[in-house]
């Protein structure tokens, strides 16, 4: 069986985390992806960490994770000569995904548009979209998250809102682009329509869930964000076991009844002190006393296994080292090892979804590793390639 996106030819332009993330799954599920990168190497190659903390364009964690299986062409797409090469590459592609400053993006889109209805689908990433009063602004992962309305609620009342960890917001945006790009590939096979798509970062995040805009727009009220445990709706949040914390989401039925059974107090499930919303807050300390007593003799994992056997939504809070040893991750092989040339073995997360024979991961390319090979495929002679190199167009 072939990989699902086998035969799909993709060009990405921009060298950013967003664009590299957008094409990663297409690459890992079989597409042939050419990453067109600046000769200096873009953002995705410059983000840490690096092995031994030594910066290296071919060894950064985001590059290693997001550029798997791609070919790298180093090309100055801002020059007329580079843009011409990009146009030839686009003409032989099914999909062009780009993340560039709006002016540069429009020039690339113009070149693709000249290819007419037979040209590739385009997916353009821009934090605010390509038009509008904010379109030209510089943004990053932090400001994207702030604009998305999701950062505000990632805080406690009155305290500083926090981002998620580095580039999580950006990669959510990227994977949104993957979804619509994949759909456009499918759609074109069915109806032949070449679609032009724009994925705005703010819109991709604000339009998705993990977002309280709709409840607020419905009622005009924002739900409180108390630090620590709610005394009214419990137990939701983190509670200490003997070796660390366990995340609980067990205040709602049917989970609360199951929890009561799990900690050996099935009678609490019908006790109005703990079930009547009017009485429940006054008995917070009492209930938590019972729960903390249960937790005081058990590890995170014991609590997890015991309470899950009763159907309670709990999970151990693991550090990232522990997450690699997590029994589920080990049993499923959630992380894989890749032999990265020049570096040795490197660990990466495995497939985001499992379909037999569909996913494979191969090393990320060195910057410009495939410039000559790709230019030759496009029909450029050796003399022409030297001319482009000498003029500083390729690298």
């Amino acid at each position: 069986m072939a990989q699902p996106f086998s035969g799909v030819r993709v060009v990405e332009v921009g060298g950013t985390v967003a664009v590299a993330g957008a094409t990663k799954s297409l690459s890992d599920y079989g597409a042939s992806v050419v990453a067109v990168e600046s000769r200096a190497g873009g953002e995705v190659r410059r983000l840490p960490p690096f092995p031994e903390d030594v910066p290296h364009l071919d060894r950064g964690a985001f590059h290693l994770a997001l550029n798997t299986g791609k070919r790298s062409v180093a090309l100055d797409h801002t020059s007329a000569s580079g843009l011409e090469v990009l146009g030839v590459l686009a003409a032989q592609s099914d999909l062009v995904v780009l993340h560039l400053p709006p002016g540069e993006a429009r020039r690339v889109l113009d070149v693709v548009a000249r290819l007419g209805d037979g040209g590739p689908i385009t997916v353009t990433l821009a934090v605010h979209g390509l038009d509008g009063p904010f379109a030209e602004r510089d943004e990053n992962d932090l400001s994207l998250f702030a604009w998305s309305n999701r950062m505000f609620r990632h805080s406690f009342d009155g305290q500083e809102p926090l981002r998620y960890s580095a580039q999580v917001a950006t990669l959510q945006w990227a994977s949104t682009a993957t979804a619509v790009a994949a759909s456009a590939i499918w759609g074109r096979r069915r109806d032949g329509v070449r679609r032009q798509i724009e994925v705005g970062g703010v819109e991709a995040l604000a339009g998705n869930v993990d977002n309280w805009f709709v409840p607020w727009s419905f009622t005009g009220a924002d739900t409180p964000r108390p630090a620590g445990l709610s005394r009214a709706v419990y137990p939701n949040g983190l509670l200490r076991a003997t070796d660390g914390y366990v995340s609980f989401f067990a205040a709602n039925e049917p989970f609360f009844s199951r929890l009561c059974r799990g900690i050996g107090h099935p009678e609490f499930a019908t006790d109005p002190r703990f079930t009547d919303p009017a009485q429940k807050p006054a008995h917070f300390d009492e209930f938590m006393g019972y729960l903390r007593e249960y937790l005081s003799t058990r590890t995170r994992n014991q609590v997890f296994l015991e309470l899950q056997s009763h159907g309670v939504m709990v999970a151990p809070v693991l550090d990232v080292g522990e997450s690699f040893e997590d029994a589920q991750a080990v049993a499923r092989g959630s992380y894989v090892r890749v032999q990265q040339p020049g570096m040795g073995e490197h660990t990466l997360a495995g497939p985001p979804f499992r379909l037999e024979g569909a996913w494979s991961v191969t090393p990320a390319p060195a910057l410009g590793e495939h410039t000559a090979a790709v230019l030759s495929e496009l029909g450029y002679s050796a003399e022409e390639q030297i001319a482009l190199f000498r003029a500083g167009v390729t690298g």
Partner: protein, 418 residues
């Protein structure tokens, strides 16, 4: 008519809460005919509360007016089926025989227990693409375990780095990001399954662990461990290599008194913009120690204090616009109303005004992408429970009398709490 990228594809949504419902709404935005199979007679525990809660004030049942339901169930038809009833299970089997894709999000093993597992459905419809998306995947020692996004965040190591630097270990703001990740990941998985079917002529099964669907988006956190055996501390909004990169309290703003602005400069040019906006262009001119990347790294505390003072002089929006206009990176940390007041969002005509029988006319968040020539549109408002029972079942060949009998029996329904 909405986008036609997935036109002709019929899908069943048997999921709850956010990740699956949102993902299947996205399939609807893309032109698929999505039938939401609503839990019955028990309402979905979290998204369809029987009490008012997050419901918009109004008449009619609260579970039709709940915000958590309305954010993720557009562009689908809705049928409500008791799948534990024999006649209800038969409805699901007949549906499965008539569609291209079935998506279920029960705890692993549940669907098999209902006689609706992959082998059974594949035998009924050999071309069916089935996706199971339990939190931790369909197999392994956590098979059958229940979770929300917060539990997945916990086992992936992300929760451990999310709280306030130096703050109490047991205090981490709530987030359900894996729901957003799972929603878009589901769309890609559906297309992959359809492409596989196109190649082989056979349906296929996809196991989508919502934990694994997010794990690949944490490469830096994971590499700190795999490269160096280091456990990164909670960093808050700071970046070890970028100064400034922070969130500062402003003197009010559209969000009210609790107003914040983020300010960052990834390079000298952006820093010059921040400095100009703050009224101190000399901060970016050598020999000022802050003019260089290294100088700024060595002056983190002083720069944070200077920007905190600057941010306190204006509204979050005013400070952010001044910095952005000058070429730095800045954004107000917008509260929900910020989506309503943003000139950019207005220019893009992004918010959607939607009419709903019980929720009335509401402003809802817009689409995740723009498509030409066939833009997404909000063709079907969030479905009422069982709203399309008759329509869908008659398409499956049930007579009017048979549908009435199913209703009478309680195998299907159109209201909760009776």
């Amino acid at each position: 008519m909405t986008s036609q990228l997935l036109a002709g594809i019929r899908a069943i949504d048997m999921t709850e809460v956010w990740a699956g419902p949102m993902g299947t709404s996205l399939l609807g935005d893309l032109g698929a005919d999505v039938i939401r199979l609503e839990s019955f007679p028990r309402p979905p525990a979290i998204s369809r509360p029987l009490r008012e809660g997050t419901a918009v004030p109004g008449d009619g049942p609260p579970y039709e007016r709940a915000g958590s339901h309305h954010m993720a169930n557009r562009n689908k038809r809705n049928i409500a089926v008791n799948i534990r009833d024999d006649a209800g299970a038969e409805v699901v089997r007949r549906l499965a025989s008539a569609v291209d894709v079935l998506i279920e999000g029960y705890s692993a093993g549940t669907i098999e227990g209902l006689g609706l597992g992959w082998e059974r459905l594949h035998a009924i419809n050999p071309r069916l693409v089935m996706i199971s998306m339990p939190g931790w995947g369909v197999d392994g020692p956590y098979r059958g375990y229940a979770t929300l996004g917060s539990g997945l965040d916990a086992t992936l190591g992300h929760m451990a780095v999310r709280g306030y630097p130096g703050g109490p270990e047991d205090q981490v703001p709530v987030m359900y990001h894996t729901d957003a990740t799972g929603a878009v990941g589901l769309v890609t998985a559906v297309v992959a399954g359809l492409l596989r079917r196109e190649e082989t002529g056979e349906g296929c099964f996809i196991d989508m662990s919502q934990a694994e669907a997010f794990a690949w988006q944490l490469p830096a956190l994971q590499a700190e461990w795999t490269m160096h055996r280091r456990l990164p501390p909670r960093l808050g909004n700071a970046d070890p290599h970028v100064v400034p990169h922070g969130c500062y309290r402003a003197a009010g703003g559209e969000a009210g008194a609790d107003a914040w602005v983020v300010i960052a400069a990834e390079n000298d040019v952006q820093w010059a913009g921040v400095a100009r906006a703050a009224g101190h262009p000399e901060w970016a001119e050598p020999p000022h120690p802050w003019a260089s990347v290294i100088g700024r790294l060595r002056s983190r505390a002083e720069i944070d204090a200077a920007l905190a003072a600057f941010a306190a002089t204006g509204t979050a929006e005013g400070v952010a616009h001044a910095v952005a206009e000058a070429g730095g990176i800045a954004a107000p940390v917008i509260f929900h109303i910020g989506l309503m007041t943003s000139p950019q969002i207005a220019h893009r005509d992004w918010l959607q005004t939607v009419d709903h029988r019980y929720a009335g006319t509401q402003t809802l968040a817009g689409f995740l992408w723009q498509v030409e020539p066939d833009a997404p549109s909000w063709d079907l408002a969030c479905g009422l429970v069982g709203e399309h029972n008759h329509e869908v079942l008659q398409e499956l060949g049930y007579s009017t009398d048979e549908v009435a009998a199913l209703l009478e029996r309680g195998a299907i329904g159109d209201r909760y709490g009776q």
